[in-house]
Structure formats: C-alpha cells, structure tokens
C-alpha cells in the first residue's frame, strides 16, 4: 500500500508539472518583455511585439507538426523539418514566380509535396522500423542534397507581392495575416487534439502502444499520418517564410530544427509522448523568439545563441526527465 501511495504522490506532482509549463512560459514571456524594455527601450512597444509574434508564428507553425510527432511517442521526433521548410519555400517560390494568381496553386503543390515526403518518413519509421531520429535525419540529408543540386546554391523563386503583404504587413487592426493564421492553427490543433477521435488515438498510442493496438487502433496508420502532418506543417512554414523574406536560399529551414523541438518541450509536451498540447507549444515559440531577441540586443553572436538554446533544451530535459521514470 505504501508503494501505491508513493506512486500516487508522484503522479500528483507530475500533474503539477504538466500544468505548470504553460504558466512558467507565460511568466517567462512577461519577464523577458520587462527585461528587454529595460535593456533597450521600445522592446515591448506594440509594433515590436507584433513583429516578434510574426517570427514566433513561423516557428510555432512548424512546431505544431513537431508537437504531433512527439505526442505520438516511441521516440517520435522530426529532424527533417529543416529540409521540408527549405523545400516548401523553394517549391512555393518557383510555382508562384511573383504572380499573385499562382498563390493558391503554389500553396497546394507545397503542401502536397511536403505531406507526401512526411508520409515517407512515417513509412520508414513504422514499416521499415527505422528509428525516427535516423529516418528524419536521413530525409533531411536527402532533401538538402537534392535542393543544392537543383538550385546550384543560388536563391531561386520569388514570392508574390500579395503573399509578402499578408505575412509582413497589417491586414486587420494593425495585425498581419500570418498571426490570424497562427491563431486559427492554435484553435484547430487544440480542437483536433482534445475533441476528436483522432486526437484521442494520438494520446493513446503515445502512452501505451500495445494497449492502444488492443483497443482497436491502427497504430501504424496513425503514426504515418502524424509524420505526414509534420511534413505538411513544415511545408506551410516554408510557404510563409517565402512571404516573409521575399526569396529563399537552400538552408533557410535549418535554423528551425532545434527551436521547433525546444518550443514543444517548453510548452510541457513530454518527449516520451502521450501528454501535452499545442497551446503550451505556442507559448514556447514566443519564449524562444523573445530569448533570441534579448540575446541579439545584448550583442551575443549566433554561436552564443546556439549555446543558450542547446543549454535551454538540456536544462528542460533535466527538469522534466523524471516523467519517464513514472511510466509503467
């Protein structure tokens, strides 16, 4: 009985941990805004906040896919998102070639291509039983190599003016369109995870795959779809990155790989899968963008930022690492 009591006790703290990350992230956001404002007046001005959120939206959207793959458990992770973003941006830019009329077609082609490659990740992981880390890293290498060959390293494709406006300029109430897209994705993801049968299946395979299979869930199909969705979200991010920067070069997506994982972890999703959600991930994306901004304000160079980011991930892992022990 003592054992049971102890187990229950740690679960209570686990529940505490699971609800706390969001609170912590929000507190971190407030703290960083204050610190940023003190370091450099104007840091917390509305226009600044909106431009920070725009950058956070790009990270947040790719992290949505990362979030799904991680929730699905069994060491789920998608390192190919960097390549998918670059690919999405290049495909979109080359299809639209600065033509407003070609935007819908460009979006459709981009999403279709990245969704398909994401499914390939999923097949590799489920049917071929390749560990997700290896499979998606391999996919990243293949995409990246192919892009270098195809573009010969020269920036290629151009954004249509309308897309550019949508991402960077205010469309309504002084807020750019990308933020409306992000909020809609936030609502969509939350409803998807909490209120649909598919969402429940994701949590089920993430916590206990064998029990989920015995409950009648097609574990493989579910996981393949998760990887497909991750590819698609990365493709959408690439599409929006094109709008943000106007034109793109190979490797534009690389900077999103590690942050997309950290944002998910900051948001309280367990890397072991099965527990977490997207609202936390959105907050995590904002935290990371603000952190990066403050580091820039402090004149810390990119390599220094990499160190801070990597250390943040490892620190969070130490903090949340206890979760894994509680399983089974």
């Amino acid at each position: 009985m003592a054992q049971t009591a102890q187990f229950n006790g740690s679960v209570t703290t686990l529940r505490g941990l699971a609800t706390r990350p969001l609170t912590l992230a929000l507190a971190a956001i407030a703290a960083m805004l204050i610190v940023g404002e003190l370091l450099s007046p104007g840091f917390a001005a509305p226009s600044q906040i909106i431009s920070q959120l725009t950058i956070a939206a790009l990270l947040g959207i790719v992290a949505a896919g990362q979030n799904l793959v991680i929730l699905g458990g069994r060491e789920g992770i998608d390192l190919s998102v960097g390549g998918m973003i670059s690919l999405g941006a290049l495909v979109a830019g080359n299809v639209m070639q600065a033509e407003n009329a070609a935007i819908p077609l460009a979006l459709a082609v981009t999403l279709a291509v990245t969704f398909t490659l994401g499914l390939a990740n999923g097949f590799g992981v489920t049917i071929m039983r390749i560990p997700p880390l290896v499979m998606t890293l391999g996919m990243y290498g293949v995409i990246q190599g192919a892009l270098v060959v195809l573009t010969r390293g020269i920036p290629s494709g151009r954004a249509a003016p309308l897309l550019n406006d949508f991402v960077t300029n205010p469309v309504l109430l002084g807020i750019p369109g990308i933020l409306f897209v992000w909020v809609m994705i936030g609502i969509g993801m939350t409803v998807f995870l909490r209120r649909t049968a598919f969402g429940l299946k994701i949590f089920a395979i993430g916590t206990n795959e064998e029990a989920a299979a015995l409950a009648g869930i097609s574990v493989r199909r579910t996981r393949v779809i998760l990887f497909g969705l991750s590819g698609m979200f990365a493709g959408l991010t690439g599409f929006l990155v094109l709008g943000y920067t106007g034109n793109v070069f190979v490797g534009v997506g690389d900077q999103y790989i590690l942050p997309s994982i950290i944002a998910v972890v900051i948001g309280g999703t367990s890397l072991a899968g099965g527990t977490g959600g997207y609202i936390g991930t959105m907050a995590g994306a904002v935290v990371l963008v603000l952190l990066q901004s403050i580091l820039t304000t402090l004149n810390i160079d990119p390599s220094g930022r990499q160190i801070v980011f990597g250390a943040t991930l490892l620190g969070l892992m130490l903090l949340y690492g206890r979760q894994r022990k509680l399983r089974m």
Partner: protein
C-alpha cells in the same frame, strides 16, 4: 547419505509469502523430483539453494556443514549448478563460447585457447549428436538456434560445470522425446558418479521415468517426501491438491442454461503455441481454459482477438467464417479481450479515466468531433455497474488502485457491449473484493446473453466460475471437464498428465 538438507526455509516478497516452510533432504546419487502447482514455492526454494535469492529464515546444510550463499557464484563454488528456467545464454555468442562462458580454456599467454574450446565443446555436444537437429555445432551463434537447441546448450553448460549438485528447473519444457531420452541418459551417468540432482518438471511421466524420490510442495510448504517406487500418480496429485480441495459436487452455482447455439466455433487452430485446437462456445456460457501456465491458453485468446496470427484453422462467429487479422476485425464483430497484465496491455497511463474508458468506443471512429455528452452517457452506467471508485472522469487513471484500474479496462469493453468476452487471467494481482464484484458481473453478463471464455492461473477462480473447462497441455486441449467431473482433483490430474 544426505548431501544437502534444507530446513524450514522461509521467504516473502513484499507482502507475498513465497515460501513458508521449505524442507528438502537430498541424497548423493539421487534424482530428487520437486513438484507442486504454480506458485507453490518450488522455484523459490531452488533459487535459495542456488544462491540467487536470499532466504528470510531457516537453515541450509551442505554435507552437514551449515552454509549460506550470498551470490550464485558462491553456490557454484560450493558445487551447486543450476539450470535456469529463464535461459541464461548470450545470443550473440557461439554455442562453444556459451557452454564454457567464464571458464574458457586458456593458452600459456592467458588468451582464450580457441582450439581447445572448440574440441571441448564438440565432446560435450556428442551425446546429443543424433537428436539435436540441423544447424547445430560449436561455432553456431545461439541466436540462430531453435528453442529446443538453446535448451540443450543450457543443459550442456550446466553439465560442463561438473557440480556435485545439479538443479534442473523445467529443463525438458522444449525438448522432444528423443532429446529427453538422451538427457535422461546423461542424468543417469551423473547419478552413477554419485552426483545429486534436483529435478523439477510438470510432466508426470518424466517424474516416474527418472525420479528416485519425490517431494511435493503446496502453498509454500513441503507436504510430503516419498520414494517414487512407493507412490502413484494419483497419490502425488492428491498431495498437490491437499485435503480441502473443491470437489466437483461442491460447486455452488448452477451451470447457466445453454441454448444450444454455438456463438463462436474454432476448428483446428494452429499457431505459434497452438496445435490443432477445436471447440465451440455456447451463448451465455462461461468456458474455462485450464491447465498449467503457458500451455497456449493466452495464445488462443489473443488469436481469437486478432492480436496474434494463426498459422491455420478457422474461426466461425454465428456460423459464419471470421477473418481475424487485427484486433479491430474482432472488435467490429463484437469480440472483446481483457488481459490481466493491465500495465502492458490495458491502461493508458497518465491519461484520464474518461479517455481510458472511451478508447474502445472511439478507436474505429472517423477523425471527426467527439460527442462528449453521448460518450459520458455510455460510460457512466458502466462505471456504476463496476462500482468504480474515482474522484472524477478527468483524473488520471494512474491515481486509481490496481483493482480499480483493472475495472476501468473492463469498463472500456463493457461500454462496447460485446457479444463475446475473452478474459486472459483478468484478476491477476487484484484484491478479493474486486474479484468478487467481477464474478458477479460475469454471471449477469451471461444472463444477458454474453458468452465468455475465461483463462485463469487460479484454479479456484476457474472452478468457481466456469460452466465447462478445457484443459490445455502443450498447445492442445487434452481434456474437457464438465458437470460432476469438474473438480480440483480432476483438473490437476488432467493438467499434469503426460502430454
């Protein structure tokens, strides 16, 4: 001459008493059979003698000297070799390397003498040469061997230690009759050299073929020790069961009325651990699966649920052939499966009680919105029927006690309202009150027309609930017990009979 004497050995694991009074007197040049049902304490006693488990009390004497082994190594040094039921071989090493692991012949420079290792292994293998089958040799990797070949390697490994006392814990489980004959010849030559052997087996014919003396254990106690020549199979079974066994006539519940319609029928099922299993399940019946643990009962249930594949045979539901490739095929046809191993096959840890209860209902639903109100309406009566005690549907399932967690898993399937319920040792490790609640519910379900197949590792649970019992041995149904022939004695007799 008594070489080893164990007196009054006691051992508890947590709150469970594994051994209350283990006594054993082993003579030199003797094959001493240790027998008893699952959980009677014989394996624990052997582990204590072999030094891998420390006793809580009692004494152990080796050649009249008191001894206490703190590690298996200490026991080995004192001349005790143990064949472990859970094989101790290293798959990535060869047969020769495994046989002499840790005792490899050395060259003058202290390196492994591979030539001698090989020739020593060849000598050791020779007796089994004709019966070991293809693809066996000193240089073959253990990972490439079949189950019986691995068991032979384990036997050779123990024999090569040349211990004064050798313990064989179910060493013949995977061997065929020719291999067993060779093994017994080796045991006889050990005996001739005055070694002492403790032999555990569930096969009654082997007990009589090789044993000199038998010690029967029941509920952690040594019951009796007699010479094989002075006893009979029925006498041994009677000792294993004990005086207060459930006789066929003592069963209180009347058998459920059978309507005579077969709901589920299986014809000649063959699988990994199933050999030609045929039976039919009547509507409103509880069909018990009995026998020793691991004789194919769980495999049958998992196969009927599509969780394990069948190599042959056919399953009929209401007379129509049923293709079972995955669990959802079974679920779609109203078949549900509940395992007693809830942490592995049942609960979704961390997730809420609500999610754990509805996952069976929604697993086949299209990825559209969930109607929470409708789902709660489905599961609330189930929770009430199961007398489930829980703070709220939103609480994590891990907050519940083991018994209540199992109720959640059961509730998941009651919510689906299955026509056939497959229960795979469903009350393993749960409290008496929960067990009793479950038994009552099983009877109610039968009255509602649900048909149940129940496998239990507890014979009393089986006898108390089943209308009929199919006794399994080696993947086959060896006997069907029904009516006044269905008592504990008959069940033991069938389970321990020669396969």
């Amino acid at each position: 001459m008594t070489i080893l004497r164990a007196r009054n050995i006691r051992k508890r694991f947590g709150g469970v008493v594994a051994l209350e009074q283990g006594d054993l007197a082993l003579g030199a040049g003797e094959v001493h059979v240790l027998i008893g049902s699952n959980g009677c304490g014989k394996s624990t006693l052997c582990k204590i003698i072999g030094g891998s488990v420390a006793p809580d009390g009692g004494s152990l004497e080796l050649s009249s000297e008191p001894v206490r082994f703190r590690t298996p190594h200490a026991a080995a040094a004192a001349g005790i070799g143990v064949f472990y039921q859970e094989l101790s071989l290293i798959p990535q090493l060869t047969v020769a390397e495994n046989i002499f692991l840790g005792r490899e012949p050395r060259t003058a420079y202290g390196l492994v003498d591979r030539k001698r290792l090989r020739s020593d292994a060849e000598t050791a293998i020779r007796p089994f040469g004709a019966v070991v089958g293809q693809g066996f040799g000193p240089d073959v990797l253990v990972s490439d061997l079949s189950a019986d070949q691995r068991q032979i390697v384990e036997i050779l490994k123990v024999l090569s230690e040349n211990s004064r006392i050798v313990i064989f814990d179910e060493a013949t489980a995977s061997l065929d009759s020719k291999q067993v004959a060779v093994f017994f010849d080796l045991i006889r030559s050990l005996k001739a050299e005055d070694h002492a052997i403790i032999f555990i087996s569930h096969r009654m014919d082997e007990v009589f073929a090789i044993g000199d003396r038998v010690t029967v254990m029941r509920n952690g106690r040594t019951v009796v020790s007699v010479a094989i020549a002075e006893t009979t199979q029925d006498e041994i079974v009677a000792h294993m069961v004990g005086g207060a066994y459930i006789a066929a006539a003592d069963r209180k519940e009347a058998p459920a009325p059978l309507t005579g319609t077969a709901v589920l029928a299986a014809r000649n099922l063959v699988g990994r651990k199933l050999a030609d299993v045929s039976f039919s399940l009547q509507r409103g019946e509880i069909l018990g699966l009995g026998g020793l643990h691991g004789q194919g009962q769980s495999d049958l249930l998992r196969s009927l649920f599509g969780a394990e594949s069948l190599a042959g045979g056919s399953v009929f539901l209401d007379g129509k052939p049923l293709l079972l490739r995955k669990p959802s095929d079974a679920i779609a046809n109203g078949i549900a499966y509940i395992s007693g191993d809830r942490s592995r096959y049942g609960v979704l840890p961390i997730r809420s009680i609500f999610e754990n209860l509805v996952i069976g209902l929604v697993s086949k639903q299209r990825p559209v919105g969930l109607n929470y109100g409708a789902l709660v309406k489905r599961i609330a009566p189930v929770a009430e029927r199961l007398k489930l005690k829980f703070p709220s549907f939103a609480a994590p399932v891990s907050d519940l006690s083991g018994g209540n967690q199992q109720k959640v898993v059961i509730g998941r399937w009651l919510a689906v309202a299955p026509a056939v319920l497959l229960l795979d040792d469903p009350t393993k490790g749960i409290d008496l009150q929960t067990k009793h609640d479950l038994y009552v519910i099983l009877r109610e379900l039968c009255a509602e027309g649900v048909s149940i197949i129940l496998y239990s590792s507890e014979d009393k649970e089986l006898l108390g609930n089943a209308d009929r019992i199919l006794v399994f041995n080696g993947g086959r149904i060896v006997r069907e017990l029904e009516g006044e022939r269905m008592g504990e004695f008959e069940l033991y007799q069938a389970a321990y009979a020669a396969s």
